[in-house]
C-alpha cells in the first residue's frame, strides 16, 4: 500500500482532473435545468471549437481572437441546434431530446475527422499562455490553466445557481424546463428565453472545449467522448443540483487519480466515473423508482 507521500501529488492532479469533469458536468446540468435537454454533444461542440481555434492560430491569427472564435462557434452551433430542433422536440420525453443530441454529436464528430484529418506522424496541441506559469504544491507544479479550470467550475456553479434562482430570465428558464406549455400561456416569451438558454450553454461548451483541449488533449475522439465520464457527476446529482454535480465531479477526479499508485487497481482506474455513477444511482433509487416526468425539473 503506497504511503501518504506517494498519494500527495495525486491529490493535486486529481483536483485538476476533477476540475475538468466539473466543467463539462456543470455545463450539462445548466442546460438541462434551463431547457430540459441533456446535451450529449457538449464535448463535440467544444472539441470542434477548439480545433477551429487551433486552425486559426496555425494561420497566424492572434490567440485571443481564436479563442473568441471558439466560444462564438460553440454559441452559434448550439443556438442553431436549439432553434431548429428545440421546438420540434419540446413536447417529447427528455430521453428523446437527449438521443437527438446524439445525432448532433455524430454529425460534428464525422465533420471533425473529415476537416482535421488524422495524419500519421503529426499531433495537434493547443497551449494557452497560462500553461507556462504556475506554483508548486508539494512536489508538483500546478499551472494557472488548471487553477482557471477549477475556478471556472466554481464560478459557474455559483453564478448559474444564483442566476437561475434570482433573476427573471433564470426563473423563466426553470419554468420552461418544467412545463413549456404552461409557461407560454403565462406570457413568457418562450422562444426567446429558450434561445438565451441555448446560447448560454453553447458559450459554455466553447469555453470548456478550449480549456479541455489544453488540459486533456486536442483530439476529437477524446474530447467528444469525455462527456461520458462527466455524466457520472451529472447522474449522481440526478440532473438536478448544480452544486452536487460540481462536488461529485471533484470527488470522481480525486478518486480516479488516487487509485493510480495502487498497483492492483491502477489499470482499472478509468472505470472510476462509471462505477461511482452506477453505485450512486442505485443507492439513490433504492427506495423509489426514479423516473423522468413532466413534474421533475
Amino acid at each position: 500500500m503506497p504511503s501518504w507521500q506517494d498519494f500527495q501529488p495525486f491529490i493535486v492532479s486529481g483536483l485538476a482532473l476533477g476540475g475538468v469533469y466539473a466543467l463539462s458536468g456543470v455545463g450539462l446540468v445548466v442546460l438541462y435545468r434551463a431547457t430540459g435537454v441533456l446535451n450529449l454533444a457538449f464535448g463535440a461542440i467544444g472539441a470542434m471549437g477548439a480545433l477551429i481555434a487551433w486552425s486559426l492560430i496555425q494561420a497566424g491569427v492572434p490567440g485571443w481572437i481564436s479563442w473568441l472564435a471558439c466560444v462564438a462557434f460553440g454559441g452559434a452551433v448550439t443556438l442553431g441546434y436549439g432553434i431548429i430542433f428545440g421546438p420540434a422536440l419540446a413536447k417529447r420525453d427528455p430521453l428523446v431530446k437527449a438521443v437527438a443530441t446524439i445525432g448532433l454529436t455524430l454529425i460534428l464528430y464525422g465533420l471533425m475527422d473529415l476537416l482535421w484529418t488524422t495524419s500519421g506522424g503529426q499531433a495537434r496541441s493547443l497551449t494557452l499562455p497560462t500553461d507556462n506559469s504556475g506554483f508548486m504544491v508539494g512536489q508538483v507544479q500546478v499551472t494557472w490553466t488548471q487553477v482557471i479550470a477549477l475556478a471556472a467550475g466554481v464560478v459557474l456553479t455559483v453564478a448559474t445557481g444564483a442566476f437561475l434562482r434570482f433573476t427573471k430570465l433564470g426563473t423563466a428558464m426553470r419554468a420552461m424546463a418544467n412545463d413549456r406549455e404552461i409557461t407560454a400561456t403565462l406570457g413568457v416569451p418562450v422562444r426567446r428565453v429558450e434561445a438565451a438558454a441555448w446560447l448560454g450553454s453553447g458559450v459554455l461548451a466553447g469555453l470548456a472545449g478550449l480549456l479541455l483541449a489544453d488540459l486533456v488533449a486536442l483530439d476529437a475522439t477524446t474530447l467528444t467522448f469525455l462527456v461520458i465520464s462527466s455524466l457520472a457527476a451529472v447522474l449522481i446529482a440526478r440532473l438536478r443540483s448544480i452544486t452536487v454535480t460540481f462536488v461529485a465531479a471533484i470527488v470522481v477526479g480525486l478518486l480516479h487519480d488516487l487509485l493510480t499508485p495502487i498497483t492492483s487497481l491502477t489499470n482499472y482506474r478509468d472505470m472510476t466515473p462509471f462505477v461511482i455513477a452506477a453505485i450512486g444511482l442505485l443507492v439513490l433509487s433504492r427506495h423509489q423508482v426514479m423516473a423522468q416526468s413532466r413534474e421533475e425539473a
Binding site: I107, T117, G120, G134, H256
Partner: protein, 455 residues
C-alpha cells in the same frame, strides 16, 4: 397537427441543404487540410553533419528508362493500412505509390507500370480479412507491399501463408516479425523499445520504467525490455495505459515516482499520446526528476521536437529505426526527398519516418521486380523474387536488408538514437545493433546471421 406539416418539410429541406453544404465543405476543405499538414512539416536543413542537403535531384533515376512512360500490362500490388480517427498509417502506402508513380514515368518494370491497390481499415478484424480477400480475389494482386496496421499481420498471416504471398510491411503486430511470410523494414514496437531501453541502460540508469499503450501485443512487446533489463541486473517496472489518455498528469507522476531520480522512463506510444505525456510532465515540472526519458520510434518526428521545446534537449532520447533524413546527403535520401516533392501529394506527413518506410518498401519491391528476367509476373514469380532479396542497400537503414527463407524475420535490427535539439531531431548515437539478449533477436540471428552495416 396540421400546422406541423409545412414545418416538417422545412426541416427536411434544411437537413438536405445542410448535408449538401457539408459535402461542399468536405470537398473544398480536404485539400486545405492537406496543405495544413504540409505547412507544419519543418524545412529540412541539417545541423549535425555540416553539409547542406543538395538541391532536388532528378527523380528519373528511380526507373531504368528515364522519361519513358510505362505502357504495358500493369503489375498489381496491394497494401492494407489502418486509417481511423486518431491513427492513420496511409502515408506509408501513399509514399510507396509515389515511388511507383516515379518508376512508371521512367520505364516501369520492363515497360510494365505498377498499380498499387490500397485498402484502409479501422482495426476491425472482419474488415481486415475482407480487405485481404478483396486484394487477392478482385484486384488480383501479385504481391503485398506496404502493409501497416495494428493487427493485420495477426489476422491475415495464415491467409498469406496459404496463398504464398511474402509480404514486405511496416510491422506492428507480433506476427509481422514472427512468421515466415512477413518481413518488415522497421523494427516495430518491441525492438524499437529495446533500442530505447538499451540506450538508457548504456547511460547507467538504475531503474527502468517501461510504459506502453494498451493495444494488442503488450505482453509480447514488454518481453524485450524485460529481458534487456534482467540481463543488466536493472529493475524494470512495466506499465500500460488505456489510450486515448484522458489524464496525462497522473500517468506522468506515476512514471516519475516509479523511476526515481536515477531511473529512466521509456515510452512506447504513438505521437499524440507520447506528446501529451511529455507535455504533462513538463507542466508538472517533472522532466528533470528522472535521469532520462526514452521513446520508441513513433516519437521520432521534428514535429515532436518543436512541440516540446528546449527543456527536452538531451533529456529525451528517441530510438530511430531509419536513417535520419536531415543529416544524410546520400543519393537514395535525396531521391526520397525529390520523389516526395514531385509525386507525394497524398503524403500528409511530409519528410519523416512514415514516408521513409513507404519509400524503402517500394524500393525493395522494385528491386525485386526488376530482378525477374523471365518476363512473367505471376504470384509465384513475384514472391520468389521478393524472397530472394538479399543484402540490399536501401540507403535508409543501418544494415543491408535481406528477406530470405526463414521462419521469422527481423531484417532491421540496428538503430540510431536521436534527441531533440532546437526544434529538430539530431543524432545522439549512430547505428547500434539491438542486443541479442532479446530472445527473438537471438533466434533470428541464429537463423539468418547478423546483417552487415550498410556502407
Amino acid at each position: 397537427m396540421k400546422k406541423y406539416i409545412p414545418a416538417r418539410s422545412v426541416r427536411r429541406t434544411i437537413m438536405l441543404a445542410a448535408a449538401i453544404a457539408l459535402a461542399a465543405a468536405g470537398c473544398s476543405s480536404s485539400s486545405s487540410s492537406s496543405t495544413a499538414g504540409s505547412a507544419s512539416t519543418p524545412a529540412s536543413t541539417s545541423t549535425a553533419s555540416g553539409t547542406p542537403s543538395t538541391a532536388a535531384v532528378s527523380t528519373s533515376q528511380c526507373g531504368t528508362k528515364p522519361g519513358v512512360a510505362a505502357t504495358g500490362t500493369p503489375i498489381a500490388l496491394g497494401a492494407i493500412a489502418t486509417n481511423q480517427p486518431g491513427t492513420s498509417f496511409t502515408d506509408i502506402p501513399n509514399m510507396a505509390n509515389a515511388y511507383f508513380a516515379c518508376v512508371n514515368a521512367n520505364g516501369g518494370i520492363n515497360g510494365h507500370p505498377i498499380k498499387l491497390y490500397i485498402e484502409t481499415e479501422q482495426t476491425n478484424p472482419a474488415q481486415i480479412a475482407a480487405d485481404a480477400k478483396q486484394l487477392v480475389q478482385t484486384d488480383h494482386v501479385v504481391g503485398i507491399i506496404g502493409n501497416t496496421s495494428i493487427i493485420e499481420c495477426s489476422v491475415d498471416s495464415s491467409y498469406w501463408q496459404k496463398l504464398g504471398y511474402f509480404v514486405i510491411d511496416s510491422g506492428i503486430a507480433p506476427e509481422c516479425y514472427s512468421t515466415s511470410n512477413s518481413a518488415a523494414v522497421n523494427m516495430g514496437p518491441r525492438y524499437s523499445s529495446d533500442g530505447a531501453v538499451q540506450y538508457a541502460l548504456a547511460q547507467h540508469a538504475s531503474k527502468i520504467v517501461f510504459d506502453q499503450s494498451n493495444v494488442p501485443g503488450t505482453g509480447y512487446i514488454a518481453a524485450g525490455p524485460a529481458a534487456l533489463a534482467k540481463a543488466s541486473n536493472v529493475p524494470i517496472v512495466q506499465l500500460t495505459e488505456n489510450v486515448p489518455i484522458s489524464d496525462a498528469d497522473s500517468v506522468a507522476i506515476k512514471e516519475v515516482d516509479d523511476a526515481g531520480p536515477n531511473g529512466a522512463v521509456i515510452l512506447n506510444f504513438t505521437p499524440p499520446e507520447a506528446l501529451i505525456i511529455l507535455q504533462a510532465a513538463q507542466k508538472l515540472g517533472l522532466e528533470d526528476r528522472v535521469k532520462l526519458w526514452g521513446c520508441s520510434t513513433p516519437c521520432n518526428t521534428d514535429f515532436l521536437a518543436t512541440s516540446l521545446g528546449s527543456k527536452w534537449d538531451s533529456k529525451l532520447f528517441v530510438n530511430a529505426e531509419l536513417t535520419p533524413p536531415d543529416a544524410t546527403n546520400t543519393a537514395p535520401m535525396n531521391l526520397y526527398k525529390a520523389i516526395l516533392k514531385q509525386y507525394g501529394k497524398a503524403v500528409q506527413g511530409g519528410i519523416g519516418s512514415f514516408s521513409q518506410m513507404g519509400f524503402t518498401e517500394a524500393e525493395i519491391a522494385v528491386h525485386a521486380l526488376e530482378s525477374i528476367t523471365s518476363g512473367s509476373y505471376t504470384v509465384a514469380d513475384v514472391n520468389a523474387a521478393i524472397k530472394s532479396v538479399s543484402a540490399f542497400n536501401t540507403g535508409m537503414l543501418c544494415q543491408l536488408w535481406t528477406y530470405g527463407s526463414y521462419p521469422m524475420h527481423i531484417p532491421n535490427n540496428a538503430d540510431y538514437t536521436v534527441t531533440p535539439d532546437n526544434g529538430k531531431m539530431v543524432t545522439a548515437q549512430g547505428c547500434t545493433l539491438i542486443s541479442s539478449v532479446d530472445p527473438q533477436i537471438a533466434q533470428y540471428r541464429a537463423a539468418a546471421g547478423t546483417a552487415p552495416m550498410a556502407p
